[in-house]
């Protein structure tokens, strides 16, 4: 039977988890952006189910962390604000998934 100290050691990496991505809304945003090349605000809103204000504030947080970049482009001759996951963001998401899966396996019980 594992000792309490051993269980605590197993869960210590939980304290080091990436808290920018750990928030469910931001995880959903980055998840969608990692699956597409780029997307606009409305597409993200529909895919994540977040309200406009909520999405906006989480996008700002992700942009500050360097995980998402915002560009203005012309698509079919129409100006469009596009969001895409940066390389740093994709790597961070992969690392987060790896860490969480490892932690979930280490959970006692």
């Amino acid at each position: 039977m594992p000792t309490p100290e051993a269980e605590t050691r197993d869960l210590q990496p939980l304290a080091e988890i990436d808290r920018v991505i750990h928030e469910p809304a931001r995880l959903a945003i980055l998840g969608v952006l990692s699956a597409v090349d780029s997307a606009d605000f409305l597409f993200l809103q529909n895919q994540t189910g977040l309200t406009g204000g909520n999405l906006s504030s989480h996008m700002t947080r992700l942009e500050e962390a360097g995980y998402v970049e915002v560009t203005k482009e012309f698509v079919d001759r129409m100006p469009r604000t596009l969001l895409r996951a940066t390389k740093k963001g994709r790597v961070a998401l992969r690392q987060y998934k790896k860490s969480m899966l490892h932690l979930l396996k280490a959970l006692p019980g």
């Binding site: 997307a39 079919d76 969480m100």
Partner: protein, 218 residues
Amino acid sequence: MSLPESENQGRRFPDDADVQRRAYRALNEDGLVDFAVGLGLSFAALYIGLWRLAGVNMTAWSGLAPILVMLIARGLRRRFVYPRIGYARIRNASPAILLMAALTLLLVAGVVVMTIYARRGVRPPAMLFPWLLRLFALAGAGTLALMGCRTGWVRFYVHAGVVLVSVLASLAVRNTSYGLTLMLGLPGIILLATGLVVFGFFLRRHPKPTPEAMHANS
């Protein structure tokens, strides 16, 4: 402490394939791919029918058809789809899908080459044309099936089946021109009609956005 069984069931991280499939599914919900492919096939059937059956040479106009189809589909997407569900650019096809597409084409090309060899000699170009069209149609069926796999929309598998059946039906028809017109026209009409119906449902499911929502997206 573990999660209660009822909460633990089916809990897993959505992997990249799941998220990507949801994105593809959303971007093909409008039926415009069906509509565009159906329109293209219908144009092709009209071209073959007018040329082979009525002697009207539409070659000068044949290059316009794909451009017209593309312009119509893009225009509809820009006007009706992007303001409702937003815009996303899909990443490049996965290597597995590209490999499947290449293998499908190779398989079909191999069947054609074997058919030619079996008849002991090279057919004159005029007789190769129907086979090239059939090859094209089979490749199209393969692509439609791949779209079904990528998006999860069952209708693409049905379309692939319709194209396959029409290719087989064209072989059974004695008159090659009728057969080719049937091979292109039947799936063309079905896809065109399906596309329009699906597009109608899409417009009902996603009402016109409010000016505030459109402003937020600019």
